[in-house]
C-alpha cells in the first residue's frame, strides 16, 4: 500500500513536470507574445522592433530559451513561480489569495450536488417507474443540458427582475472575514454549478441503487423484517455510494472547467477568473502558475480519492 502511494505520487510529479514543460515551450514558441501587445499598447503607432526589444529585455524574454527554462525550473523548487508581467507581483503570492475562493466554490458546489442528488437518486430508485421517478428523471435530464453559465445568468436575471437584488460584485470578502457577505457572493455560482453536477450524480446513484437493491443481502434485510428506512439507508445506500465516489472524483475536472466560466460570470476572484484575464493579457508566468496549480491539485486529489476506496471498501487492495 505504502509502496503504491509512493509510486503513484512519483508518477504524478513526472506528469506535472511534463505538463509544465509543454506549457512553457508552447507559450514561448507561438506568436502573439506579451512584448508585441505591451509595446503596441504604449505607443500604438510605433510598436517597432526597438520598442518590443525593450519590453522583452525588461521581462527577461530575450534570454536564451534554455536559460529561461533553467531559471523557471530552479525557481519552481524554491516555491517561486516568477512575477506577473502585468502587476509585477510574485505569482505565488497572487495565487495564494485566489486559491481560497476557488476551493471554497468547488466544495460548495459538490455539497449542493450531493444534497440534491442523494435524496433524489434514492427516491427515484426505490419508486422506480412511478410518476415520481419520471418527474425526477426529467428534472435530471433538464439540468444536464442547461449550461451552468446560462443557469447563472438566469438566476441573476430573475433575482434582479423580481427580487430587485443582485449579488455584491465588488469588494469580495473571504469566508472567515465576513461569512455573510461571502455567502452572498458565493451561493449563486455554487447553486448554478452544483445543480449541473448534481444531475450527473443523481442519474448514476439511481442506477447503482437499482443494482444494489436487487442483491441477496438486501433481500435478507427485507426478510428480517427491517423497516424500509433501515434497508435503504443502512444496507443499500452504503454500497451504492462507493462507485458514486469515483464519479465525483472524475467530476472534479468538470468542476474546475465549469468554474473558470462561473468565476468569470460572478466575478469571484478565484484562479479561473485570474487565468482568463491572464490569457487575454498574455501574462505567461500567471498562466504557467495556474496550470501548475490546477494540474497538481487535480492529480493529487485523484490519488487521495483512490486511497479512500481502500478505506471504504476493505476488499480493494493496491499492489
Amino acid at each position: 500500500m505504502q509502496q503504491y502511494i509512493v509510486r503513484r505520487a512519483l508518477l504524478n510529479v513526472l506528469v506535472i513536470f511534463m505538463v509544465i514543460t509543454m506549457v512553457f515551450l508552447g507559450l514561448r514558441l507561438t506568436p502573439g507574445d506579451f512584448a508585441v501587445r505591451q509595446a503596441g499598447a504604449q505607443i500604438p503607432q510605433h510598436s517597432t522592433e526597438e520598442a518590443k526589444e525593450i519590453v522583452r529585455h525588461d521581462l527577461g524574454l530575450d534570454k536564451p530559451m534554455p536559460k529561461q527554462y533553467w531559471e523557471f525550473v530552479s525557481g519552481l523548487f524554491q516555491g517561486d513561480l516568477g512575477d506577473s508581467f502585468v502587476s509585477k507581483e510574485p505569482v505565488m503570492l497572487e495565487l495564494k489569495d485566489r486559491l481560497a475562493p476557488s476551493i471554497e466554490l468547488g466544495i460548495l458546489q459538490i455539497a449542493v450536488a450531493i444534497m440534491v442528488a442523494v435524496p433524489i437518486g434514492i427516491i427515484s430508485a426505490i419508486r422506480q417507474d412511478t410518476w415520481l421517478d419520471y418527474i425526477l428523471r426529467m428534472f435530471a435530464i433538464f439540468w444536464l443540458a442547461v449550461p451552468s453559465f446560462f443557469v447563472g445568468v438566469l438566476l441573476l436575471y430573475s433575482l434582479a427582475r423580481w427580487a430587485h437584488w443582485s449579488p455584491p460584485i465588488t469588494n469580495y470578502k473571504g469566508f472567515f472575514d465576513d461569512p455573510l457577505l461571502n455567502m452572498q457572493a458565493m451561493f449563486l455560482p455554487a447553486l448554478a454549478g452544483g445543480l449541473a453536477i448534481g444531475a450527473i450524480i443523481m442519474r448514476f446513484l439511481r442506477s447503482q441503487m437499482l443494482e444494489v437493491l436487487r442483491q441477496d443481502y438486501v433481500r435478507t434485510a427485507w426478510s428480517k423484517g427491517l423497516r424500509e428506512r433501515a434497508v435503504v439507508l443502512r444496507h443499500a445506500l452504503k454500497n451504492a455510494l462507493i462507485p458514486v465516489l469515483t464519479v465525483i472524483s472524475l467530476l472534479l475536472a468538470t468542476v474546475v472547467s465549469g468554474n473558470v466560466v462561473l468565476e468569470t460570470l460572478f466575478q469571484v476572484p478565484g484562479i479561473g477568473f485570474y487565468v482568463v484575464n491572464a490569457i487575454q493579457q498574455y501574462d505567461y508566468p500567471v498562466v504557467q502558475g495556474v496550470v501548475l496549480v490546477m494540474a497538481a491539485g487535480l492529480v493529487f486529489v485523484n490519488l487521495l480519492v483512490d486511497m479512500t476506496y481502500a478505506w471504504l471498501d476493505p476488499r480493494i487492495r493496491y499492489g
Binding site: V19, V146, A253, V256, S257, N302
Partner: protein, 319 residues
C-alpha cells in the same frame, strides 16, 4: 381434378413463399416504434434535425443578414434639433419584424441564432470527425499490437485525460491565433482520449473473433486486418461517441464564446448570451435567444445520443 389439385398446390406454395420472405416492416412503422419506445430520444432527434436544417439552410432560413444593423425613427427627433432623424433599433423585444428582438447593435437575433446553428454544429461536426479519425486510429493500433506499445499509449492518454478540458482549451486560445479551424481541432483533441478508450476496448474483444483469426491465418497483413476486418466491428461505438461527444463539444464552444475567447464571426450563441446578459434587466431577448439555443441543442443531442446508445450498444458509458 388434377387441375384443381395443381392450383391448390400452387396456392400453398405461394403462401409458403410469402411466409419465407423476411418480414420487413415499413420505415413508417419503424419510425413509429422508435417514437413509442423512446419518446425522449425521438424528441431529441427532432431537435437535432431542426438544428441541422437551420445550419444547412441558414442563408435561406435567416430573414436578414446576420451583420445587418437596423434603424428606426428617433422618437426624440424634432425638425431643426440636433438629434438625428433615425437611431439604431437596438435592444428591442420580439416583434413581427424581429422575432427574437435585436441586439445592442440593432442586429436581428433570429437571423443570428440561425447562423449560429451553422457555427455550432459545424464546429461540433468538425471536432468529432477529427476526434474520431485520430481516436479510432489510436484505439485500433493500440489494441491490435497490445504489449508495451499499448501500455505507453494508454498512459499518455491517461495523463491527457487527467486535465480539465477547459484548461487545454484555454491554453490553446492563448497560444494560437483565434480562428475556427484551430478551435475545432482543439475541441476535437479533447475528445480523442475518450474516443480511443472506447474503440480500444471494442477492438480488444473483436480481435479475438474467429473471422479475424481466420483472416490472420490466411496471411492478411496487419493493416488489412485492422482496416477490413476489425474496423467494421467498431462502427456502433463510433456512432455512439459521435452523438454523445458532439453535445459536450457544442457546450464547450459556447462556453469559450461566453468567455469572449472565441473568434467573433460567424455569430455565436455563447457570445449572444454573454452580450445579452449585460443589458438583460432592460431587455432579456438576446440573452434568452442565445441561452435557449445552446440548451435546446445540447439537450437534443444528449437525448438522441442516449437513445442511440441504448439501441446500438447498451454497454457503453461515455462519462
Amino acid at each position: 381434378m388434377l387441375a384443381g389439385q395443381e392450383r391448390a398446390e400452387v396456392e400453398v406454395l405461394a403462401v409458403a413463399e410469402e411466409l419465407a420472405q423476411p418480414q420487413r416492416p415499413g420505415w413508417l412503422l419503424l419510425v413509429g416504434r422508435f417514437i413509442w419506445r423512446k419518446p425522449l430520444g425521438a424528441f431529441g432527434l427532432a431537435v437535432v434535425l431542426l438544428m441541422a436544417a437551420a445550419a444547412a439552410g441558414a442563408p435561406w432560413l435567416c430573414r436578414y443578414d446576420a451583420e445587418e444593423t437596423f434603424r428606426v425613427a428617433n422618437p426624440s427627433y424634432v425638425p431643426g434639433s440636433a438629434e438625428p432623424e433615425e437611431k439604431l433599433d437596438s435592444r428591442s423585444g420580439p416583434s413581427w419584424e424581429h422575432w427574437f428582438g435585436t441586439d445592442q447593435f440593432g442586429r436581428d437575433n433570429y437571423s443570428r441564432v440561425v447562423w449560429g446553428a451553422r457555427r455550432s454544429l459545424g464546429v461540433g461536426l468538425g471536432a468529432l470527425l477529427f476526434a474520431i479519425i485520430f481516436g479510432t486510429t489510436i484505439g485500433i493500433v493500440s489494441a491490435y499490437f497490445r504489449g508495451w506499445f499499448d501500455m505507453l499509449v494508454q498512459r499518455v492518454m491517461d495523463s491527457i485525460q487527467a486535465f480539465p478540458a477547459m484548461l487545454i482549451l484555454l491554453l490553446l486560445v492563448s497560444l494560437t491565433e483565434r480562428n475556427l479551424i484551430t478551435l475545432t481541432m482543439g475541441l476535437g483533441f479533447v475528445v480523442i482520449t475518450a474516443a480511443q478508450r472506447i474503440v480500444r476496448s471494442a477492438v480488444l474483444s473483436a480481435r479475438e473473433d474467429p473471422h479475424v483469426e481466420a483472416a490472420r491465418a490466411i496471411g492478411c497483413s496487419p493493416i488489412r486486418l485492422m482496416v477490413v476486418h476489425i474496423l467494421p466491428n467498431v462502427a456502433a461505438p463510433i456512432i455512439v461517441i459521435f452523438s454523445i461527444g458532439i453535445a459536450s463539444v457544442i457546450l464547450a464552444e459556447a462556453a469559450l464564446g461566453f468567455l469572449g475567447l472565441a473568434p467573433i464571426e460567424p455569430p455565436s450563441w455563447g457570445m449572444m448570451l454573454d452580450e445579452g446578459r449585460r443589458y438583460m434587466t432592460s431587455q432579456p431577448s438576446t440573452m434568452l435567444a442565445g441561452g435557449a439555443a445552446i440548451t435546446l441543442t445540447v439537450m437534443g443531442f444528449n437525448l438522441a445520443g442516449d437513445a442511440l446508445r441504448d439501441i446500438l450498444d447498451p454497454r457503453i458509458r461515455l462519462s
